[in-house]
């Protein structure tokens, strides 16, 4: 065993296959350090399947079960039930899945596990396209974004998955952004303490897929929140709460114009001024809906 493996806490080891500027290793390191050593990760086909290395070694210091793309929430259900059946206590079963495996091919599996209220934490790291196969649009690709299968820009809207999960009436739903890492960490902590199905939707920028310089990952992830495009919130037992800087964003004047976020990314470079206005209008409308949720 190498020295790094004698760490008291779980970590995600450096020197893995993630692209430069890819936030996944940090996101997973944060996840593992919060969840601890007694955690099983279930990972469907995605960039993370590659980042996790090959049979000669993996950066994960907790058990990992690789999964077919549509199967992860079901595999996690089985793992959790079996560990419980064998008398284990104080363990966590976590699905770590991309947006395609969550909102598209694995959606029925996710919805089924949520409906059964399986005792698992499901984290969707959302890089807004099928990135591992080379940037093809998913149902979570935002309106207007270029991908290799939407060369003219996506014409449809991003599937509002966190709200869809909220409608499953599971004990905990939250959004997060790697740009606000402490907010993400706090939500992981909270999720860890809750029993039942927990869902965290983590916005996870992708330098090659979103067409920005690798040094801008954190800045882009922050701007997604600061412009109100990606509101940070949590829903605990039905109670909706804005978190971190998003708390102030009900007031439109506190939100940056969406252009600040869009212009950093090459995937939006062909947007017309009208389309940018359209996106601004959609974001403003979404915040009106959020107002109603907050009042509840």
């Amino acid at each position: 065993m190498t020295e790094a493996l004698r760490l008291d806490n779980a970590r995600f080891l450096r020197g893995n296959a993630a692209c430069p500027g890819c936030p996944i290793p940090k996101e997973l390191d944060t996840l593992l350090s919060v969840m601890g050593k007694r955690t099983v990760l279930v990972v469907p086909a995605s960039c993370t399947s590659v980042i996790l290395g090959d049979t000669r070694g993996t950066p994960s210091t907790v058990p990992v079960i690789h999964s077919a793309m549509a199967a992860s929430a079901a595999i996690a259900s089985g793992v959790e039930r079996a560990l419980r059946a064998r008398g284990e206590k104080d363990f966590n079963v976590v699905v770590w899945a991309g947006d395609g495996a969550t909102g598209d091919i694995g959606f029925a599996t996710l919805s089924g596990a949520a409906e059964r209220n399986e005792n698992i934490l499901y984290v969707c790291y959302d890089n807004e396209a099928f990135m591992n196969t080379g940037i093809q649009r998913s149902s979570l690709t935002p309106y207007g974004a270029w991908t290799t299968t939407t060369p003219e820009g996506k014409r449809e809207f991003k599937k509002p998955l966190p709200l869809v999960m909220m409608q499953h009436r599971i004990p905990y739903v939250a959004t997060a952004s790697i740009g606000y890492i402490f907010d993400y960490e706090q939500k992981l902590r909270k999720a860890k303490g809750i029993k039942g199905f927990r869902y965290i939707h983590l916005l996870s920028p992708c330098p090659p897929g979103w067409r920005y310089d690798s040094s801008l990952t954190v800045e882009v992830a922050k701007l997604a929140v600061d412009t109100g495009i990606w509101p940070l919130f949590e829903v605990e037992n039905g109670e909706f709460r804005l978190t971190s800087v998003s708390k102030t964003h009900l007031d439109k004047s506190r939100r940056k114009p969406v252009e600040a976020y869009l212009k950093l990314q090459g995937r939006f470079k062909n947007l017309t001024q009208e389309q940018v206005q359209e996106i601004q209008r959609m974001v403003d409308e979404m915040w009106e809906e959020i107002k109603a949720l907050v009042k509840k």
Partner: protein
């Protein structure tokens, strides 16, 4: 003194459920599909009544059913699920995943025709379509056989270091819904036959990552050793068959079963429930002076090619009964038998029938063998 064993009258689905209950699985995944449904209903009932202590996952699809028991098996649980036809096809990706990951577990398949067109009745297309998935595949002839094979399946899959999943096939409706007499083991006997499961891949002190990417030089090694494991499985199956036969005091063969093959001129090769009809046909043919026999294939994967050669090498001709067809080639079982008999000078005829629940009576089989005897049978015949 040994407690007397119970003799029950059960439909096939309930006999398998009874065996599963005695095997004490810890996690079950259930999703309905005809004709398997009543088996999982029975298991749910056992759990509700406290006769079986297990986690019952009422899952949202067959793909997820296999995924769930895979996850549970990785985490050390004895597991079970069952399906049929479209369900088995929908499960296919995970069937291969389980085989490739070499995770021991047991699934039952109530065989059924595949759509389109819709048919809920029996044939073997679903079962044989999983022949390359690194699974041991066994098929039962009657309700007793389905019960026996289910218990043997758990033992074989958990045999030390074999690491292979087992699929137990039995004919939809013909066995699943037919009530027959069977003798069941006492629970304590099953406990002794099936020691607690040892296989487990989740140890928080020794974290391993399962199903990792394997590069091209590594991948083929995993497949090479899977091939070795399947070859090795033949002797394990024979071993378990001996253990089980001794326990029950009946001969329960594992790979093939021969019926009157010693002096026979003609061998009929069959798999599954209609082997019983073949037995009847063999008796009638013998009554008419035609020396026929049955060679029943109980294990389809690994295919017992050595035994097939041994039993068939001296025959005048072989008739293979097929309830599944590889379109553009020939009957699936016939192709396997021909391949096993490569180089032998024994003609192999193929009788394709029973698709989509078609009734095949012993008299039809008798006619086929008579034609074979007279030299008028075509190499491949469909009952249409």
């Amino acid at each position: 003194m040994q407690k007397a064993r119970k003799v029950l009258a059960l439909v096939g689905n309930h006999a398998v459920a009874y065996a599963v209950k005695q095997a004490k699985p810890q996690v079950l995944a259930v999703f309905p599909i005809t004709p398997q449904t009543t088996m999982l209903e029975k298991l749910a009932e056992y759990i509700a009544e406290g006769e079986l202590k297990a986690e019952l996952v009422k899952i949202e699809s067959e793909h997820s059913a296999m995924a769930t028991i895979f996850g549970a098996a990785v985490a050390g649980a004895r597991v079970f699920t069952a399906t049929s036809s479209q369900g088995l096809l929908y499960m296919t990706e995970m069937i291969y995943w389980v085989g490739g990951a070499r995770v021991p577990l047991v699934a039952a398949v109530a065989t059924r025709a595949i759509a389109a067109p819709w048919s809920i009745l029996d044939d073997h297309h679903d079962f044989v379509s999983k022949r390359d998935a690194i699974w041991i595949q066994m098929m039962a002839e009657d309700v007793q056989d389905a019960y026996d094979l289910t218990l043997m399946a758990f033992r074989i899959s958990e045999y030390p270091n074999l690491l292979l999943p087992v699929m137990m096939g039995f004919d939809g409706f013909i066995l699943t819904h037919t009530m027959e007499r069977l003798e069941v083991l006492n629970d304590e006997e099953v406990d002794e036959f099936l020691p607690p499961r040892k296989f487990n891949l989740i140890d928080f002190e020794d974290p391993v990552s399962i199903g990792q990417v394997a590069d091209s030089s590594e991948y083929i090694k995993y497949r090479y050793y899977a091939m070795k494991a399947m070859e090795n499985a033949k002797s394990v199956i024979e071993e378990v068959s001996k253990e089980y036969s001794k326990l029950v005091g009946r001969n329960v063969p594992g790979l093939v079963e021969d019926f009157m093959c010693d002096d026979a001129d003609y061998a009929i090769v069959a798999m599954g429930a209609w082997s019983g009809d073949v037995r009847e046909a063999v008796r009638r043919l013998r009554g008419e002076g035609i020396k026929a026999c049955l060679l029943k294939v109980k294990t389809f994967r690994p295919f017992p090619k050595e035994l097939i050669r041994k039993y068939l090498s001296e025959k005048k001709a072989v008739l293979v009964m097929d309830r599944a067809y590889s379109y553009g080639l020939g009957g699936v079982l016939a192709s396997e038998v021909k391949s096993a008999m490569y180089g032998l000078q024994v003609p192999v005829y193929n009788f394709v029938a029973g698709l989509g629940g078609q009734d095949v009576r012993p008299s039809v089989i008798v006619d086929m063998v008579k034609k074979l005897h007279e030299g008028t049978l075509q190499e491949e015949v469909w009952l249409v």
